[in-house]
Assembly symmetry: C2
Homo-oligomer: 308 residues x 2
């Protein structure tokens, strides 16, 4: 069983959308990545930080999915990271209403010894300095380091971000962020520039328009499953990354061909994530439902043109 | 050899883009549809109208591709339809600078006898009354009637548009137009509503984000080929429709499975169309280049997940 180390936020989210409104619910990139990766046969360790206001019931949700939380620090007297946002009618754009860093502000990640030899490391969206610190704590170079990031770090910590990007193998980033990072409108050109920054594999996430995987001159595309209703997009990108990393850790085979499958598995899991608020759907989705929807992905994309 | 009747504008276009500017060049939906369909083994007839200002050299471009232009009326003393537009930096949005209907204003299409028994009819974007008149001139119900339209007719001739939509089998429409026509944001729901208006097959074009084919509960998706540079998107949607119709006419087999292939062929040809101004690339592209790029479409979309 492959070992996957995940670093990412465990948080409270409060979400408003045209479909309703939530109180503070379980959220955070590390949470969504972990829940998605737990759908595969893999030894999962999570590194994160919360305050002692964080309910045991939420931690139990993670441990019940066999996610090892020895690396989740609980800060006494501290408050857990809180994010609140409101989605517009098109569900593609959102306003951030509240960001309270709380314990995240001084987060100093500690990789448990048992996971310092993980074959795959998935660095969720965090300050690039934190991401770099995790890489440096690994006993040996992991077979694959995957990094997710966002425009906030390009605006505020570009130099550190470029330093960590140099160290990794796969970057997952959305289309607008890829354009911002490279100053190229064409995603093909943007991916080429990002290759030259370090990562051998570039995954560009386009939300409802799917995801592109670039490697050398090769490109693979996975659509998002067309849905009747998108209820809450929060965590979809992290769920995609978690499915991608979890599948690769479970199959223990690093190649462009296997990453195609990983991208499909990630897109498949993300299609469930958006069906309910927060992590609700990811907690309940069954292996049977996941498999059924993989069949839908095949119908959706596979064709039969004979070529010489 | 299947017979395909195409109805659509033959026009002058003048295009401005970040890459440059053209004088009046060959354009029009009928032109792009015809050039794309001519890549397949099919007996092509075009119904359209031009003024006597239209150069013989432009007509020769069509006849050289074995497009029968007996149905292209040349109005003495009339001027050819002229459209001019300017693309913005993202190449996804454009402003119309000039629309001179000229001879198109009084266009009364006449289907040549030799094409009144065509198995497939492709109705390019035109006034729905003109599209309906063509359907009524057919000797017997064609095996397949495909219709392309746009928001302009929804705004100005909705009732006539709904009348012609009731008569057809396949509609091709872009995502924003599908939303406008149905008042549904979700394209899955929009396609269901359009099904209920008449068409058994609904193709929703999303430009650089690909195209969706809906039939009953089945969905197929074809991405646009990611390109380093999009030079001029003019005619890409018509080229897509022409490739779709041409492939179906050549293979003479109407099914969801075969339409998947048709959607891929349409997307493939559209990827060439945008590489140069106007029809330039569609005039020169070779069968070898087309085939090579079909291989790229396979690499781009086909994966290998074993499912029970």
């Amino acid at each position: 069983m492959g070992k996957l180390l995940i670093v990412g936020t465990v948080a409270f989210d409060a979400i408003e959308s045209p479909f309703g409104k939530t109180d503070k619910i379980l959220g955070g990139a590390g949470t969504f990545i972990g829940l998605a990766a737990s759908k595969f046969e893999v030894d999962l360790g999570l590194v994160s930080v919360v305050g002692d206001d964080f309910p045991q019931a939420y931690l139990d949700i993670l441990t019940n999915k066999n996610i090892n939380i020895d690396g989740v620090e609980i800060v006494k007297g501290g408050k857990t990271f809180f994010w609140s946002g409101r989605y517009h009618n098109d569900m593609n754009t959102r306003d951030t209403l509240v960001t309270e860093l709380n314990t995240l502000a001084d987060f100093n990640p500690k990789v448990p010894d048992a996971y310092a030899d993980a074959e795959i490391v998935m660095l969720g969206n965090l300050h690039p300095g934190i991401q770099l610190s995790v890489i440096h704590q690994m006993k040996k170079r992991p077979k694959l380091i995957i990094l997710d990031t966002m425009n906030f770090w390009m605006d505020n910590s570009l130099e550190e971000l470029l330093t960590v990007i140099k160290e990794i193998d796969v970057i997952t980033i959305n289309d607008e962020e890829a354009r911002q990072l490279t100053n190229e409108y064409s995603l093909v050109k943007a991916a080429e520039k990002i290759h030259r920054m370090g990562p051998k594999y570039v995954v560009i996430k386009k939300g409802e328009h799917g995801a592109l995987l670039f490697h050398d001159k090769h490109i693979f595309f996975a659509p998002a499953l067309p849905l009747e209703e998108v209820f809450d997009p929060t965590g979809a990108g992290d769920t995609f990354a978690g499915g991608f990393a979890g599948y690769l850790a479970a199959t223990a085979h690093i190649s462009f061909e296997n990453m195609k499958n990983a991208v499909i598995h990630g897109s498949n899991l993300a299609s469930f994530c958006v069906e309910k608020f927060g992590t609700e759907r990811m907690q309940t989705v069954s292996q049977q439902e996941i498999e059924k929807r993989l069949h839908q992905f095949k119908t959706l994309t596979q064709f039969n043109i004979e070529l010489p």
